[in-house]
């Protein structure tokens, strides 16, 4: 580390703006008497969109803040990614929060603040910064998951998530202390330098540290066997927060993993590669097999998202420039698809109050647009050609196989077929089961229709014209392996 620190606060402008936005939302909610609370989500979404546009000013620039975090294309990619996700979640929350939850101001403020945590997880180049950002994201999510506090399931899910999350944080910290104890630094670059030479003096401690870091982060991204909180938290959380959990919290975890393992732990690849590969295999198999038995759409998507985590972990196991850009690509496709699916599910729930799989019967007749979009999203999740899911999985599996993990790819392909089965179960309810007597067509709000169409177009766009996104992903990960 150089003695001259670069304390250029202007690098952090987007996050300052986000914090300001959160404060503005709270203030509007609390101090302005005649403010219409139903406008809050639009304020949040508009603010996020504005900061997103602002953060584009750092494209192709490369700098760092005191060595703690980098502002480069990788960071910019995730800034855009997380802010766009949060904006979409804010918009789909509008109706739901108004109908079902109290304290809308805090809801949107926490949503915005959690984005800061997610961004810094992707940006940090130092373990403590990464850890505290992870905590920021987790704290917001703990609160948001238990937001429906008059419902038992929300309380239960929130409590489980918080206890296991705190446990995971403790393990992660212990792991970090092992890494610090053996390498003498918390900066990724210094750790890599310390591990580049002979590590035999502290091999065991290093291994234990790696295992603990992996276990802690594995909790956060819900990798098997650290996934126990996922189904309950997904089921108990308010629906839009379930969408947010499946998108931002996972992707932020992987953004951190990717920068950490490529930046700090590359020299000791042999120590952790097999662990991550084993985790990936277990996660894929268990997530997809248990998903087969679910009756609730939230639990189904919880297990299917665990399965997706397995695919993403493969990229970490076979870490290289190709797999990491494929990972970014896959995560983008996955999040667009997942948000599309959740937008439909939330709209359907707002209209009918049903979230069981059998509750989707007659959706095709009652809300044809939502039915078509949800079907497209589910096909994409299972990896059908033409949809985003196919292309991104194709790239990911290919990249992983190229790195010599053919056996993982085989498992992944088999599990993709398994996943098709349970997605088809939902689609059957939507299209084959007839609605009950006297159930008419339902009016879908214009905003939701627009959002659904936009996200569905996104799903097809990534699936049919993948070149653009691939270029962006390659550009973003180039520096990691420079």
């Amino acid at each position: 580390m150089s003695s001259e620190l670069n304390l250029d606060y202007s690098l952090l402008t987007p996050e300052f703006c986000l914090a300001g936005l959160a404060a503005l939302i709270l203030a509007l909610d609390l101090f302005v008497d005649d403010f219409r609370k139903s406008w809050l989500p639009y304020v949040a979404a508009a603010g996020l969109a504005a900061v997103l546009a602002l953060s584009l000013g750092w494209v192709n620039k490369e700098s760092d803040f005191a060595g703690l975090l980098s502002v480069d294309n990788y960071t910019t990619f995730f800034r855009v990614f997380f802010m766009a996700t949060a904006a979409v979640v804010a918009l789909v929350s509008a109706q739901f929060v108004q109908d079902k939850l109290r304290h809308p101001g805090e809801y949107y403020a926490l949503l915005v603040l959690s984005t800061i945590g997610a961004i810094y997880m992707a940006a940090s180049r130092e373990l403590l910064t990464a850890y505290i950002s992870l905590e920021l994201l987790s704290f917001c999510l703990f609160v948001l998951v238990s937001y429906a506090k008059h419902e038992r399931r929300s309380n239960e899910g929130g409590l489980k998530y918080m206890l296991l999350g705190a446990f995971a944080s403790a393990i992660l910290l212990y792991g970090i202390s092992m890494i610090y104890g053996t390498s003498g630094s918390t900066f990724y670059a210094d750790i890599a330098a310390a591990y580049a030479g002979d590590t035999s003096a502290f091999d065991l401690a290093l291994l234990l540290g790696l295992v603990m870091v992996l276990a802690g982060l594995g909790f956060k991204v819900a990798a098997v066997p650290f996934h126990m909180w996922t189904p309950d938290a997904y089921e108990g959380a308010p629906l839009p927060i379930t969408a947010y959990l499946s998108a931002t919290s996972k992707v932020a975890g992987f953004a951190l993993l990717l920068r950490l393992f490529s930046g700090a732990f590359m020299p000791v690849l042999d120590d952790w590669q097999w662990i991550v590969a084993a985790l990936a295999a277990m996660t894929m198999v268990l997530g997809n097999l248990v998903a087969l038995q679910q009756h609730n759409i939230k639990r189904l998507l919880a297990y299917s998202s665990i399965g997706q985590v397995g695919y993403m972990l493969m990229a970490i196991a076979a870490l290289s420039a190709a797999t990491s850009s494929a990972l970014l690509l896959h995560m983008t496709g996955y999040v667009i698809t997942n948000l599309a699916a959740f937008t439909c599910i939330i709209a359907w729930y707002n209209l009918t109050g049903r979230d069981e799989i059998s509750g989707f019967r007659g959706m095709a007749e009652r809300t044809p647009l939502l039915a078509a979009a949800l079907t497209a999203a589910l096909f994409s999740l299972s990896g059908m050609p033409l949809f985003a899911g196919f292309f991104t999985k194709f790239m990911l599996f290919q990249a992983v196989a190229d790195e010599g993990f053919l056996w993982l790819t085989v498992i992944a392909v088999v599990m993709s077929f398994v996943s098709l089965y349970y997605y088809l179960l939902v689609i059957r309810e939507i299209y084959v089961s007839k609605p009950e007597e006297g159930e008419e067509r339902l009016p879908v709000p214009a905003l939701i229709s627009g959002l659904t169409v936009a996200l569905t177009i996104g799903v097809f766009y990534v699936g049919i014209f993948p070149r653009h996104l691939l270029d962006v992903a390659e550009e973003a990960t180039k520096l990691l392996f420079a």
Partner: protein, 157 residues
Amino acid sequence: MIAFWTLAALAVTSAAMIIVVRNLLHAVLFLILSFVGIAGLYITMSADFVAVAQVLIYAGAISVLMIFAVMLTPRSDRDNAGNMLQAPALVLSGLVITAVSMVAVETDWRLADRVAFESTATEIGDALVSPFVLPFEIASVVLVVAMIGAIVLVRED
């Protein structure tokens, strides 16, 4: 050396007692004792500031929080009965303890090059304001989030 072993024994025994005792309130009191023991251990490692923070935050504030939590809970005096998972849990924690102590003994740790006892508060302060500004500021945001969360979730409405 004597101080270290006494404090270690105190911390470990009271930690074990937390699990063994049936009364929830007693468990919390043993937890506080364990916190104090750990604070003592920090002093033997000449990490004076961490020790003070440990006493202030853990033995002070967090214990208050826990005692309140116990007092708030209806039927908190019922005992925390054992269940089927006792044996596997014992085996698992035994394995973890073995692994960690093996690592602690086998490893050639990088040692801090300090001999005399000197105050660490200044060094921590320096680290907080110059290289580690950002985690420090994020910590304040985390605290505010915790405050908002507590208010939203705990307040009656």
